[in-house]
C-alpha cells in the first residue's frame, strides 16, 4: 500500500460510526445517553472539591476548609487584591516560562522522536530507554545540585543563572527528552514510511520531510505534549522556587506556594482566588488545543 502526501485523508475520528444519522429513544440511551450521565457524574466529582476553592476565594476572611458552609459570603475583594500582591506579574512570568517551555519541549521532543523513528543507528533502543530512565531519578534532592549548577552557569552566562526566567526554562527543557519523546515516537511510527520515501524521491531533504510532512501528520500528539509540558511547568514550584529567589520573578505556582507556606498566617482567600485565576489559562489552552487533539489530521493509514 503506497500512499503519498497528497493522499492524506480528510479528518476522521477514530471509532466514529460511519453514519451520523440521529438516533433516538432506547437506542439513544444505549449508545449516547449513558455517556452524558457518565460525564455529568465525573464533572460533579471533578468540580466538587474545587467549589471549596471558589467559595474560599469569595470569602474575604476565613479559612480554606474550616467550614462546610460554602458561599456564605460573596465578595470579590480577594480578586481585586491580587494586583497589589504582584499576582499579575507572576501570571505573566508563568505564561512566558510555560509557553517557551512547551514550544521548546515539543520541538526538541519531536526532533528526537523523528530521529528514533526514522533513522536506524547504533544504540538506538538503548538510548531510547536511557532517556526514560534518566528522568526517573528521584528529584527530592535535586535542588542542591540545581542551585549550584545555576550559580556556576550564572557566572559565565548571567542570563542562564539564578533569578532568571530563561535559566528556569532551560532547567525545564532538560526534561524535554523523556516520556514525551516516547509518546511522540509511538505516533511517528504510525506515520507510514512510504510517505518519507516518496517525498525523498521528489527531492525533499530530511529536514523538509520532518517539517512539512511528519509534523503536520502528528498534530494531535504535538498538541497533547504541548499541553502536558505546559501544565507540568505551570504547576511546578519545587524547581522554580530554587531558581527564582525574588517575588517579582515568581511564577504563579511559587507565588501561591509562598502564600500557603505558613499555614498559621496564610491568606487563604487570596490564595484561593489566585488558584482559580491560575486554572483559567490551562482550561483555555486545552479548549484551544482540543480541535487539534481531537479530530486533527490523522495519518490515514496503517503502520508500515
Amino acid at each position: 500500500m503506497v500512499t503519498t502526501a497528497s493522499e492524506v485523508r480528510p479528518p476522521k475520528s477514530a471509532n466514529s460510526n460511519a453514519n451520523h444519522t440521529a438516533v433516538t429513544g432506547m437506542r439513544w440511551w444505549r449508545e449516547v445517553g449513558w455517556r452524558h450521565i457518565v460525564g455529568i457524574v465525573m464533572i460533579i466529582v471533578c468540580v466538587l472539591p474545587l467549589l471549596y476553592v471558589l467559595s474560599a476565594s469569595l470569602n474575604p476572611g476565613g479559612t480554606l476548609t474550616g467550614s462546610n458552609q460554602l458561599f456564605r459570603e460573596i465578595s470579590f475583594d480577594n480578586y481585586s487584591n491580587l494586583a497589589e500582591r504582584g499576582f499579575w506579574t507572576w501570571a505573566r512570568n508563568s505564561l512566558i516560562v510555560c509557553t517557551v517551555t512547551a514550544v521548546g519541549t515539543v520541538l526538541m521532543g519531536a526532533a528526537a522522536a523523528y530521529a528514533f523513528s526514522r533513522f536506524r543507528f547504533k544504540g538506538r533502543r538503548g538510548s531510547l530507554t536511557g532517556l526514560l530512565l534518566a528522568q526517573m531519578f528521584p528529584q527530592t534532592l535535586a535542588f542542591v545540585a540545581i542551585f549550584l549548577l545555576l550559580l556556576s552557569l550564572g557566572e559565565v552566562f548571567p542570563s542562564l543563572g539564578l533569578n532568571s526566567l530563561l535559566g528556569l526554562i532551560c532547567v525545564y527543557l532538560g526534561g524535554a527528552l523523556g516520556v514525551n519523546t516516547f509518546l511522540m515516537y509511538g505516533f511517528f511510527n504510525t506515520v507510514p514510511r512510504e510517505l518519507d520515501e516518496a517525498a525523498k524521491i521528489d527531492g525533499a531533504t530530511h529536514a523538509q520531510i520532518f517539517w512539512t510532512i511528519i509534523l503536520r501528520l502528528v498534530t494531535p500528539i504535538l498538541a497533547v505534549v504541548g499541553l502536558l509540558s505546559f501544565v507540568s511547568a505551570f504547576g511546578d514550584f519545587l524547581v522554580a522556587k530554587v531558581v527564582l529567589q525574588r517575588p517579582e520573578q515568581y511564577t504563579v505556582a511559587v507565588g501561591l506556594y509562598s502564600w500557603a507556606s505558613d499555614e498559621r498566617t496564610a491568606p487563604w482567600g487570596l490564595f484561593a482566588a489566585g488558584a482559580v485565576v491560575a486554572a483559567i489559562p490551562v482550561i483555555l489552552l486545552f479548549m484551544f488545543l482540543q480541535r487539534y487533539i481531537v479530530g486533527g489530521l490523522t495519518s490515514g493509514s496503517v503502520k508500515g
Partner: protein, 539 residues
C-alpha cells in the same frame, strides 16, 4: 540566548515551502549539500552557537569554571561535527535535546551521586576553612566586666588600627602593635577625633574596608591573656578573649582555657582525644558509609518491608486506576454524537489545571473524619475515619491520586485514540466485528503500543510521589512508638525524607545515598517494563 537558538535549530532548518520541481530528483546527490536557504540558515545558527560557546569559554576561563570550559569545548566540537558532517544524521535531531538533558538532568543526578559519598548535611555543610573561621568566631568571649569603647578607625600607610580613649588619653594600636598612648591627639566625648601620624577614616572609607575592620583584633597589651579589642559596627569596640586558636602548621585547634588539642579527623570534625567534637565540622568524603548505613540502620530496617510493599501497591494501583478511568472516559467521549463534548472534556481536565498541592490540602480538609464535607454533608454525619484508619487512609490516598491523575491519562488516551487509523476500524467493522470486539482486539492493542511506556513512567513517578503523601497524610496514621516517625501511608521516598530531614538535622549525604538506591529499584523495574512494552510494539 545561545541555548534558545539551539531550540530553533533543533530540526536543522526552518520550515520551507514544499520542494520545487526544478530540484534534481533522487539522483543520489546528498541533500545536505544543496546550498539552499536552509543551508545558510543552518550556517548562521551554528555560527551563532559557536560565537556563544567561544564567549562562554572565555568568560568561564576568566572565572576559573573549568568544568564549564571543558563542557563548552565539547559542545563546540560536537555541534560543528554534527551539523556539517554527512554521517551524523540522527545527531542533528537529537543534539539539542541531549545538551539540555546532560546539563540539567544527568549532571544533577551525578551530583547527587557525588553527595551520596560525603557527609554533607547539617554540621558539615561547607569547607574546612569555613569551619575553622566559624569555630574561632563562636569561641571568642567578651572579657567579663570590660567596658565598651567608642572606637575610631585609623590607618597609616594602609595599615588599619583602632584609636580609643582610655583615662582621657588617646591610645592607638594595630593587629601587630598593642594599644599605645599617642601624644597630641584630640578627642571629644571619649572618642578620638584626630591622631597625629594617623588618618582618621571617614564613613565611606570604613564601608569600603568592612571585612578587614571587622576581622581586625588589636591586642590590649603585650600579654595576650588580656584579650584584644575588636568591633562589629565600626563605632563601638569590646575586649574579647579567644578561647580557640588554630595552628595552621599542625592543622589543630587548641582550647586555650583547658589546653585541649582538637585534631581534624576523617569525619570532618575537630576532635579531642576524649572524643568530643567541635561544631561546625566540614564536608568530607566518607566512602560507602551512607550506603551501608541504609542496610544497617535499625530505624530503617524495622518498618522497611511493610513500607516497601505499600510503595509497590500504591504505585501499581495508582497507574492502573488512573489509566482505567482515563481510558474509559476517553473512549466514552470519543463518540461524535455526544453534544457538548468539548465542554465535558474541558471540565474533565479541571483537576489537572489546579495546582496539585492545593488539591491535596482541600482533600485533606474534605476527608476530615469529624468535620469533613464527605462525612458531614455527603454521608449525612457519618463518622468514617478516612485518614486515621490505616486501611482507609490507604484507600483515601489512592482515591485522591485517582482524582489528581486521571486527567493526564484521559488526555494521553484521547490523543492516542485519535491517531488510530480510521480505515483499520472500518475494515474490522466491515468484517462484522462487534463494537466491543473492535475495542478489545484492535483499538486497545494499538493504543498500548504508544501508551504502555507511559504507564511504566507513571509507575516510576508514583513510586516517588513524595508531594502527594506529604501534603495529604504526611505518612500518617503514624505507627505507634517507632524510633522514626513513619506511618501506614508512607512510601519509600517519604520515609527517606523522615529519616534524613525531619529529625531536624538534615543529612543530605545519607538522603542522596537512599535516593540512589531507590533509583536503582525503580530503574531496574522500569527497564524490565520497557523490555516488555517493546514486545507490544513488535505486534
Amino acid at each position: 540566548m545561545s541555548q534558545q537558538t539551539v531550540v530553533t535549530d533543533s530540526a536543522g532548518a526552518p520550515p520551507e515551502p514544499p520542494p520545487s520541481r526544478s530540484r534534481p530528483r533522487g539522483d543520489g546527490i546528498s541533500h545536505a549539500r544543496n546550498y539552499g536557504r536552509g543551508f545558510w540558515v543552518k550556517v548562521i545558527l551554528v555560527a551563532l552557537i559557536d560565537a556563544g560557546a567561544v564567549y562562554g569559554i572565555l568568560s568561564a576561563v576568566a572565572v576559573s569554571q573549568w568544568g564549564i570550559v571543558a563542557f563548552l569545548v565539547v559542545v563546540l566540537l560536537v555541534v560543528n561535527w554534527v551539523y556539517f558532517s554527512k554521517r551524523a544524521l540522527p545527531g542533528k535531531y537529537l543534539f539539542p535535546g541531549l545538551v539540555f538533558l546532560f546539563v540539567y538532568v544527568i549532571f544533577t543526578a551525578c551530583y547527587t551521586g557525588y553527595i551520596a559519598f560525603t557527609n554533607y548535611g547539617d554540621g558539615h555543610n561547607s569547607t574546612q576553612a569555613d569551619a575553622i573561621a566559624a569555630i574561632q568566631i563562636q569561641n571568642e568571649q567578651r572579657v567579663e566586666g570590660s567596658a565598651a569603647y567608642p572606637i575610631t578607625i585609623v590607618s597609616q600607610d594602609g595599615e588599619l588600627g583602632f584609636a580609643v580613649v582610655q583615662d582621657g588619653q588617646v591610645e592607638v594600636g594595630t593587629a601587630e602593635q598593642p594599644l599605645e598612648a599617642v601624644d597630641g591627639a584630640t578627642a571629644s566625648d571619649d572618642k578620638a577625633t584626630e591622631v597625629p601620624g594617623w588618618d582618621v577614616l571617614n564613613f565611606a572609607a570604613i564601608a569600603q574596608q568592612q571585612e578587614a575592620i571587622v576581622s581586625l583584633r588589636v591586642p590590649v597589651s603585650d600579654d595576650p591573656a588580656d584579650g584584644s579589642l575588636r568591633t562589629q559596627d565600626g563605632s563601638t569596640g569590646y575586649i574579647y578573649q579567644s578561647t580557640m586558636s588554630y595552628d595552621p602548621a599542625a592543622g589543630t585547634m587548641t582550647d586555650s582555657a583547658t589546653g585541649t588539642v582538637y585534631t581534624p579527623d576523617d569525619r570532618g570534625s575537630f576532635r579531642a582525644p576524649d572524643g568530643t567534637a567541635l561544631t561546625p565540622g566540614w564536608k568530607v568524603n566518607v566512602g560507602f558509609e551512607n550506603f551501608t548505613r541504609a542496610f544497617t540502620d535499625s530505624r530503617i530496617s524495622g518498618p522497611f518491608i511493610s513500607i516497601l510493599i505499600w510503595t509497590f501497591v500504591f504505585a501499581i494501583l495508582s497507574v492502573l486506576t488512573t489509566f482505567a478511568l482515563g481510558l474509559f472516559l476517553a473512549v466514552v467521549f470519543n463518540d461524535p454524537r455526544i453534544r457538548g463534548r468539548k465542554i465535558y472534556r474541558s471540565l474533565l481536565i479541571l483537576p489537572y489545571a489546579f495546582p496539585g498541592f492545593l488539591a491535596a490540602l482541600v482533600w485533606k480538609g474534605m476527608l476530615n473524619p469529624d468535620f469533613g464535607f464527605i462525612n458531614e454533608t455527603l454521608l449525612g454525619g457519618a463518622n468514617i475515619p478516612w485518614l486515621t484508619d490505616p486501611t482507609l487512609a490507604k484507600v483515601s490516598v489512592l482515591l485522591v491520586n485517582l482524582w489528581l491523575g486521571f486527567p493526564y491519562m484521559f488526555l494521553v488516551c484521547t490523543g492516542a485514540l485519535q491517531s488510530i487509523p480510521g480505515d483499520v476500524l472500518e475494515s474490522a467493522r466491515m468484517d462484522g466485528a462487534s463494537a466491543a470486539r473492535v475495542q478489545r482486539s484492535i483499538v486497545f492493542p494499538l493504543l498500548m503500543v504508544s501508551v504502555a511506556p507511559l504507564l511504566v513512567s507513571s509507575f516510576a513517578f508514583n513510586f516517588n510521589n513524595f508531594s502527594l503523601i506529604y501534603m495529604l497524610t504526611g505518612g500518617g496514621p503514624n505507627f505507634e512508638g517507632t524510633p522514626i516517625i513513619v506511618g501506614h501511608t508512607d512510601i519509600l521516598i517519604s520515609m527517606v525524607y523522615s529519616v534524613a530531614f525531619e529529625s531536624g538535622v538534615k543529612q543530605y549525604g545519607f538522603a542522596s545515598a537512599l535516593s540512589i538506591l531507590i533509583f536503582i529499584i525503580v530503574g531496574v523495574i522500569s527497564w524490565w517494563g520497557f523490555r516488555r512494552t517493546r514486545r507490544l510494539e513488535e505486534l
